[in-house]
């Protein structure tokens, strides 16, 4: 219904007045309906969450490397804040470790990376690249940010509830999620579920808006196959969110009922917890939760990676000074990835007792989905051939994305075969696999995007030297953090172990444990490597070199045809797309780039 409600206002008098009067602080920065302001809001909020997610994992990593030792300084603080049963003597308790783990996963995925890729870059760049004055439903857009923000606040607030936050992993498997805190109905898990309902609602509003915008508001001449690949990526992503999230919302409501009203959607009969029979009717199915969760969970990982690939494609095309090789096959691959991602979800559930037929089905689709990924990556690799490659901070991050995603994607294959997953399931191999795609993968794309579009957003360039420093440090430490995890996985180390596997490895294989120490040190290094970025980011807003033109990178896509920074309504005059998105180095053209909006 919101859909109807909004579009009228946006076009009515209220939206209009922005152009004429200087709006107040609130309507300009908090209740703005301008997609660019909303994009920046998303960006700032999600970077803060990214940082917070990192702090959580840093505490965890310290505990993994030094089981039984209190965390210096922070430990005492945690003990004060969260009580001594949570952080006894500055140690993380098992519960607190699990809390941090669950919140690290949740925050990184739902509050940091998706919002920054989809909410921030998607919002800021998509309408510009298709030549639209704004989103199709600007007020809906604002609402979706606010709902996201409330969701974040709810998640954050759960740290201070009596029982602590949710601590059943980001996957929140039942029955664990329903029985961890039997005394407290309104526990961290409940907060988590309520927070998720907000976040899901926000994503749904956002995805309706994105799809409608891309379908309806493309400017004259912007046919489907003239859309930049970034827009395609956002388009497919929006569909994934639109159709995969509702089942999780349904599942969330069911788990909420289990927690609050004592129902048994996911609880079978005959549960005996802590030696006493649980007072529930039973009759539910723990596997139902897993099916509904992974029905979202798997598409969600492509929600993380597709926009990242989109950003990388833009940056690569621009910095190789040539068109993307195989643009069309990339588009079709993105669509098939999107489609297939809905029917592979149970590869996360091979070991829940799966028969041959279903297992064969899911591993076949899993192998099938790797093919379009290979096609996309191959197209990007081949795009480099014959280019004239510029190395700036943005392109360095974009280029290193490729092998990083390569490693992450390739290590998905042994997990995708159920027989080899028997050994690797829920080990650190899995942690290594997905961090290669989400951390050096997705995050590198985020950084590439920030360096690339910063001048458009602020009118100032970021410092290249600091940027390269940031890149070198990040690349080095990322690999040092995540590559050893494969070894740990091979050694049989399970994930979510707050003693870092000591119980298992003590006296058997000390190398597994010393790797823990090394990883933790490198994680600290990774944090330090972000300092140049943070300094660069804030200082460039104020003292960065002013851009000399609206198009500092000599790029072709429409966002560079706007004034800098783009005003409300974006374009000075109605843009028209006359050609494809990446007309670089066209033979016979007067310069090495021919913008989409240049008259033929």
């Amino acid at each position: 219904m919101q859909a109807t409600d909004t579009h009228a206002h946006a076009h009515g008098h209220k939206g209009h007045s922005h152009d004429h009067h200087e709006p107040g602080f609130f309507s300009k920065y908090i209740f703005s309906t301008d997609h660019k302001v909303i994009g920046v809001q998303y960006g700032v909020a999600s970077l803060i969450f990214l940082f917070f997610g990192f702090l959580l994992v840093l505490a965890m990593r310290f505990q993994l490397a030094n089981p039984g030792k209190p965390i210096p300084v922070v430990g005492a603080l945690l003990e004060k804040l969260l009580g001594s049963d949570m952080a006894p003597g500055g140690n993380l308790s098992g519960d607190l470790y699990n809390s941090f783990g669950a919140m690290h996963g949740t925050i990184m995925v739902f509050l940091a990376i998706v919002p920054i890729l989809f909410g921030a870059f998607g919002n800021y760049v998509t309408p510009l690249q298709i030549g639209a004055p704004d989103m199709a439903f600007p007020r809906l857009n604002m609402a979706s940010f606010h709902v996201y923000f409330i969701g974040g606040v709810v998640m954050f607030a759960s740290f201070f509830t009596p029982g602590g936050t949710a601590r059943s992993g980001w996957t929140s498997y039942s029955p664990l999620a329903s029985v961890t805190d039997l005394a407290n109905h309104f526990d961290g898990q409940t907060y988590w579920l309520i927070g998720m309902v907000f976040l899901i609602t926000s994503s749904l509003l956002g995805s309706v808006n994105f799809i409608a915008t891309i379908i309806q508001l493309r400017c004259r001449g912007m046919s489907w196959m003239r859309m930049p690949f970034f827009v395609w990526a956002q388009f497919v992503t929006a569909f994934l969110l639109l159709l995969a999230f509702p089942p999780l919302e349904a599942a969330g409501l069911m788990q909420l009922m289990d927690n609050l009203f004592g129902s048994s959607f996911f609880l079978p009969q005959g549960l005996v917890v802590n030696g006493t029979a649980l007072a529930v009717s039973g009759g539910g199915s723990p596997l139902l939760w897993q099916h509904l969760f992974w029905f979202l969970g798997h598409p969600e990982v492509y929600v993380l990676i597709l926009p990242a690939i989109g950003i990388v494609s833009e940056v690569i095309a621009n910095n190789t000074r040539k068109p993307l090789w195989g643009y069309k096959s990339m588009v079709y691959s993105a669509m098939s990835v999107g489609f297939l991602s809905f029917i592979v979800w149970a590869h996360h559930m091979y070991l829940t007792g799966m028969g041959t037929k279903v297992a064969t089905f899911f591993q076949t689709t899993t192998m099938m989905i790797s093919i379009p990924s290979v096609i996309i990556l191959t197209a990007l690799f081949i795009s480099l051939w014959g280019g004239s490659i510029r190395f700036n901070a943005a392109s360095l991050f974009a280029l290193s994305f490729l092998p990083m995603f390569g490693i992450g994607g390739l290590t998905g294959l042994p997990l995708g075969f159920n027989a080899s997953d028997i050994y690797l399931h829920d080990s650190y191999y899995v942690i290594g696999h997905f961090h290669y795609v989400v951390a050096p993968g997705t995050m590198f794309a985020v950084f590439a995007g920030i360096y690339y579009w910063f001048p458009k957003i602020t009118g100032r360039m970021m410092n290249e030297t600091l940027g390269k420093l940031h890149w070198a440090g990040s690349l080095f430490f990322m690999n040092c953090v995540f590559a050893p995890m494969f070894i740990q996985g091979f050694k049989g180390m399970s994930r979510r172990m707050y003693d870092g596997g000591t119980t298992y490895f003590e006296g058997v294989d000390p190398t597994a444990l010393s790797l823990n120490k090394m990883i933790t040190m490198c994680a600290v290094g990774l944090g330090v490597a972000q300092l140049p970025f943070i300094i660069n980011f804030f200082s460039s807003i104020f003292v960065g070199k002013k851009v000399s033109s609206d198009n500092p990178w000599d790029a072709t896509t429409l966002e560079w045809a706007t004034p800098t920074p783009p005003p409300h309504g974006n374009f000075a005059s109605e843009p028209v797309a006359y050609r494809g998105p990446y007309e670089y180095s066209v033979p016979g053209a007067k310069s090495d780039f021919t913008p989409q909006s240049e008259k033929p």
Partner: protein, 120 residues
């Protein structure tokens, strides 16, 4: 992209007498829907013996009713291609969700027990 100036939305339902005939259709469908409801309920009372038949018929009638609502009240009869493709996609994924979940929970390793009591 073609630059038609012609307003496509106006093409199918702008004339008064057109609308008047629509109204007649709406009323007929209203009757059909009520009838369908009554039949569904009667089925339930009449066919005591086989529940499967009752349920099958009930769902069949529900589908017809749903079709009528979607096709006429929601104008899907004369809707644009875009809307159809959207609905086809969600229909496919919905079927996938329901079908694969059911299949996934029922295809288990040999000798797996759903134990409501503790029996190996």
């Amino acid at each position: 992209m073609s630059e038609q100036s012609h307003n496509a939305a106006a093409s199918h339902d702008d004339h008064d007498h057109d609308i008047a005939s629509h109204i007649k259709t709406y009323l007929i469908i209203f009757g059909a829907l009520l009838l369908g409801t009554v039949i569904t309920v009667l089925m339930y009372y009449v066919d005591f013996s086989s529940m499967a038949v009752t349920v099958g018929v009930a769902l069949f009638i529900a589908s017809i009713k749903a079709f009528l609502v979607a096709a006429y009240f929601m104008h899907l009869m004369s809707e644009k291609k875009l809307v159809y493709s959207l609905l086809v996609i969600s229909a496919i994924f919905f079927t996938g969700l329901m079908g694969l979940t059911l299949w996934g929970t029922h295809d288990t390793p040999k000798n797996t027990l759903m134990k409501t009591v503790y029996v190996p």
